[in-house]
Every structure is written in C-alpha cells, then in structure tokens.
C-alpha cells in the first residue's frame, strides 16, 4: 500500500519519541502484568503450607460459622468462606483488612477438627502476589494524589502515548507490510533482525495491545470520564440510588450455606462458588461478595466473576454477569474487563496472556535498543543523551526484572527470620532495582547488561533449587513446596533461567566481538 512520504515521516517521529518517553514504564507494566496472571499461584507458592488449615465438608460450614462467630468478636462482622481445597475453610482479619493493599494484615484461620471442635490460628498474610500486581499497576512509582495512585495516573498517560505509538507504528509499516510481514532476516545483520521481530510481534499482537491501551486509560481516568459524563446526564441520575436500609441484622439470623449454593445455582447456572466474603454482618448494611467461576464462560477476571448481595434477604445489588436477557450492557462491559484480565479460555487463556504480556515488554525493550543503535550510527561518538538512555533502558528493564526475581528467591528464606515478610519484599525490590540502575550508569550499558543477565540467570535457577534443598533437608525449616502452584512458579523460573543464560551469552559475544561503540 502506498502512503505519502510526509505522512510517513510525521508518524515516524511520533513513534520514535513516544517510544522513548513511555517505553520504560510500560515495560515494567507489561512484564509484571504477565506475572499477575498467576498472582494467586505466586501468593500460594510463597505462603507456608502450615498457614492453611485443612478443609471441611460443605455441610459442616454452618457449624463452623456459628462456633467462630460466637467465640470471636471480629467474626460477628466479617469473615470469608473458602471452598478452595488449598485454603482454610474460614478466615477473617484480626488487623486491618479491606480492599487496600496493607503490609501488616493479620489473618485468623479457622476450621473444625474431626470431632467438631473449633481450631484457629493467627498468621500475617502474604502479599507477594498483591505487591506484584501493585508493581504492574504503578510501575513501582510510589505516592498518592488524593485517592489515586500517582503511578496509575502516570501509566494512564503513558497509555495514551502508547496508543499513539501503536497507530503510528502501523502507519509506518503499511507500505512494506505485505512484503516483509513474516520476513525475519537473520542474515542481514542483527539490527535488521531486531527490527523485523519488533514489527512482527507488534502486528501479530496488535489487537491485544489496542485493548490494553484502551483499558489502562479507562482504569486510570474513569473518575474524570464519569465527571464529564455527568454534564451530559444532567438531572438524570447516573447510578441507582439505594434507599437507606433500616433493619438491623445480627449474625445469628444468617441463612445456612446451602441457601447461597441454591441461590447461585438458580441465578447463575453452571457457575461454581469459589469463596464468599461476608462483611458488616451485624449492622443495617450487610453484604456478601460471592466469587463464582465457570471456565466455559468469559469471566471478568481470570479468577472469576462477582455477585454482591444482601446476605439476609438475598437481594442482588451488583453482578458482573448478566442476570436477565434484556441486560445487554453488562456482558459488553464485562467483556472489556475480561479482555484486559485474560478471563476467558481458562488456563490456556492465562498462558496466552502471559506470553502476550512478555512479548509486549519485548516490543518496548527492542524499540529502545533500535533507537539507540540508529542514533549511534548517525553519530561518530555516542552522545551524552544516548548514553543516558542506554543506561536507563538496561537499568530499568533488566533491573526491575532482577529485583522481582530476587524477591521471589528470598521469599522462602525470609520466613526463617520471622513471618512478617511483606515489608522485606518492598525493601528487597527497591534496593535491587536502584542498585541495578546505579550499576548500569556507573559501568555503562553494554557491560552491565551482561552482568545483570548473569545475575538473572543465577537467581532464576536458584528458585527451583531452593525448593529442592527444602525437599532434601527438611531440618533447615525451609518451606516444603506445595504441589501444583509450585510447579507453575518453579517451571517458569527454570525456563527463564535458560532464556537469560542464552541472552547472556549473546550479549557477551556482541560486546566483545561486535562493533566498537555498540550497545
């Protein structure tokens, strides 16, 4: 297809400059987002198995709730019922709680013994999965403006730029798209290969990227969009106003668990209840949030859909799945969420999203490298600005990945020194990240890239090794690995140690034998 030269040049400049401005934060957002596809597995992997109590049969739940709520004041108000076989049947927060991320949450787990005696234990929660999610949403940029995270807003702006980069990237490619779409030219020099793979990955995963750019902007600025929309709605209320409830309830009036199971069977056929979070039970404003799963439907997030109802009257207040046929907008909106969170196609979908996220990170990384190489060719000497940019690219991208991997690695060892590990996670991440960044500035991008990839290789390899050590020498008191979720985490770690080792060899070869002055 023919495109006028001046249009091409215009969009070429947009593409380049935006990539340079927004690429680095987006890189972190993407690879951390890949990891959040397995957020619950990671948390489960990091939590000592001894923290969870044994499950009980469904008909015993009523007895458990009744005993727990009569014995513990906190459990009169809020508790969560889990049906997952790896989790404790009943949990509630002894300290803090709520939806915000808190590092010092303390959770009480409860179950029944064989002869129906209440057993409980108290543990600080493990927030490793949540912290990675936080990194994904904010790129590790701390601070709040009002009730919004600054990092989220920055990623929102970066996503507007990212959308522009996508459009301009496609425009630039149009003239040569048909000819060189699948062309990977390994024999035309490594820059050509990098460019080809940058383009190929970009075009193949374009729909995914358009969705991600759109949803991230909305996640960051929905308050702003609603604000403007209220002008259009005028006097028409945007959201249903609920009448103030006046009936006070107490936990003794709570219907049996089977009531909820039947209700969900009634309104959402084919869905299975994963957990139920009861809150404000002894008040006029009680609620239960039920997480339901159906692998054959498009789910809002990869771990399920939600229905919120009054636990006493069973009136549904909110549902992320359509409950009547006339409701056309619920499935559309839920679909958009699902496309961001990879909530469809079950575990296969999660793996596809995991890979797409990593490929996205690759696009930003390779884009930055391509720009640097192009600049280098134009100038005889590396300029100050390209040196800074090179160190930033290497330091931020590899540094951030290294920091996460090191945090994963030390996670199991940290439990030897006490169980309040969440604060250590944060320290570990930021110390590793900034030392890597500093190192790449002091040592230069090319050399530090070799070393950082070597560290990545070693730490990735050490993660499964830790579990092997734990298995062979249980006396050290390291956690014994759980069964399935640990395979996922450790399998990925092993795979990546191989990838990083390969890149390490490649980078080293390039640095010592390639052109001088190259990055």
């Amino acid at each position: 297809m023919r495109v006028r030269g001046d249009i091409l040049r215009t969009y070429q400049s947009i593409h380049t400059w935006i990539g340079i401005i927004a690429g680095l934060v987006l890189f972190i957002g993407f690879y951390a987002g890949s990891l959040t596809m397995f957020k619950h597995e990671i948390t489960q992997w990091a939590t000592p198995a001894s923290h969870q109590l044994s499950q009980i049969p469904i008909e015993k739940f009523d007895k458990l709730i009744q005993q727990a709520s009569s014995k513990f004041a906190k459990a009169e108000q809020d508790f969560t019922v889990n049906f997952n076989e790896h989790l404790s049947p009943l949990t509630w927060f002894e300290r803090s709680g709520g939806r915000e991320l808190a590092l010092n949450n303390v959770m009480r787990h409860a179950t029944l013994s064989e002869d129906d005696q209440l057993i409980t234990q108290v543990n600080p929660t493990n927030e490793l999965g949540e912290l990675i999610d936080m990194l994904h949403r904010t790129a590790g940029i701390p601070g709040k403006a009002g009730h919004e995270d600054i990092g989220v807003l920055i990623l929102g702006i970066a996503s507007v730029l990212y959308f522009l980069a996508l459009v301009s990237g496609v425009v630039i490619l149009l003239p040569t798209l048909v000819k060189s779409f699948f062309a990977l030219r390994p024999n035309k020099g490594s820059n050509r290969l990098w460019l080809d793979s940058h383009n190929l990955v970009g075009i193949i995963s374009l729909p995914f990227h358009l969705i991600i750019a759109w949803t991230v902007i909305v996640f960051a600025f929905h308050d702003f969009f609603y604000g403007g929309l209220s002008l259009i709605y005028g006097d028409e209320p945007m959201f249903e106003i609920r009448s103030k409830p006046s009936i006070e309830y107490t936990v003794e009036q709570l219907p049996s668990i089977s009531t909820y199971l039947n209700k969900i069977d009634d309104i959402a056929e084919g869905y299975k209840i994963e957990s139920m979070a009861f809150s404000n039970l002894s008040s006029a404003n009680p609620s239960v949030g039920i997480t339901i799963i159906n692998q054959h439907e498009m789910m809002r997030v990869s771990s399920g859909d939600f229905i919120y109802m009054n636990p006493y009257t069973l009136n549904v207040n909110y549902s992320s799945i359509p409950l009547s046929d006339e409701d056309v907008y619920t499935p559309i909106v839920a679909g958009i969420f699902s496309l961001h969170f990879g909530g469809y196609a079950g575990d296969f979908g999660r793996w596809v999203y995991f890979i797409l996220g990593l490929l996205g990170a690759f696009i930003f990384y390779s884009g930055n490298l391509l720009w640097l190489e192009k600049r280098r060719k134009k100038q005889s000497q590396q300029s100050q600005s390209s040196r800074i940019m090179a160190s930033l690219t290497i330091g931020v991208c590899l540094g951030s990945m290294m920091a996460v991997v090191v945090t994963l690695l030390v996670s199991k060892w940290l439990y030897l020194f006490g169980s309040e590990v969440n604060t250590y996670y944060l320290w570990c991440y930021y110390v590793c990240f900034f030392s890597a960044l500093l190192y790449s500035f002091l040592r230069g991008a090319a050399k530090s890239a070799i070393d950082l990839q070597l560290i990545l290789f070693v730490t990735c390899l050490l993660i499964p090794l830790t579990s092997v050590v734990a298995l062979l020498f249980p006396s050290i008191g390291l956690l014994r690995p759980l069964i399935f979720s640990s395979f996922v985490v450790e399998g990925i770690a092993l795979l990546f140690s191989a990838v990083f080792f390969y890149c390490f060899l490649k980078t080293r070869k390039r640095a010592y034998q390639g052109e001088r002055n190259s990055i």
């Binding site: 909305v218 929309l229 259009i232 056309v328």
Partner: protein, 99 residues
Amino acid sequence: MVRLSVNEKIQPHWWSKTLAGLLLGLMLAYGIVGIFAWYGYGGIDAPVKVQFNMWMICPIWILVLSFSYLFKTGFNAVVYLLSVNAVVYCAFFILRWLS
C-alpha cells in the same frame, strides 16, 4: 509518486495539533457518546449503560487524537475539529430540545 511542494506537505505543528486533538477530540467524544447515551439502544436509564458510555469516550478520543496529525496545519486541525464539534453538539441540543 509526484513530489509535493513545500506547502502541500504536512506541516509538523506538534503543539497545536496535539492540543487540538486532546481538547477538541475529547469534546467530540463526549458529544457522540452523549447522543448515544440519550437516544442509543435502551435510552438514558438502561442498566449498566452508563458504564458502557464511559468506556466508549476513550477510544473515540484517542482515535481522533492519533489522526489529528494528518491535518496539513495546526490551524486546519482546529478549524475542522471545531466544525465537527459544532455539528455534533447542535444535533445533541436539538434532539434534547425536541424530546
């Protein structure tokens, strides 16, 4: 391809085009979504429609923004986008006034 003379070519005008795309594009998005909100399927009070409307603002806005750079000059961008805005908002207010 015919060589274009200097004033036929697209001028960069980064700031004016970007601002036009950002502000007028956003206004245009609100206008189009506004008409849909009141007169699109389900009317103004269909359940969950407000969420759908909010979602639709963003893609219209960023699409207008990304193609604003195709205008020849920044001035052109402002004039064209303003006129489209005027048409959309006229339609919106006439429809509101009629019903």
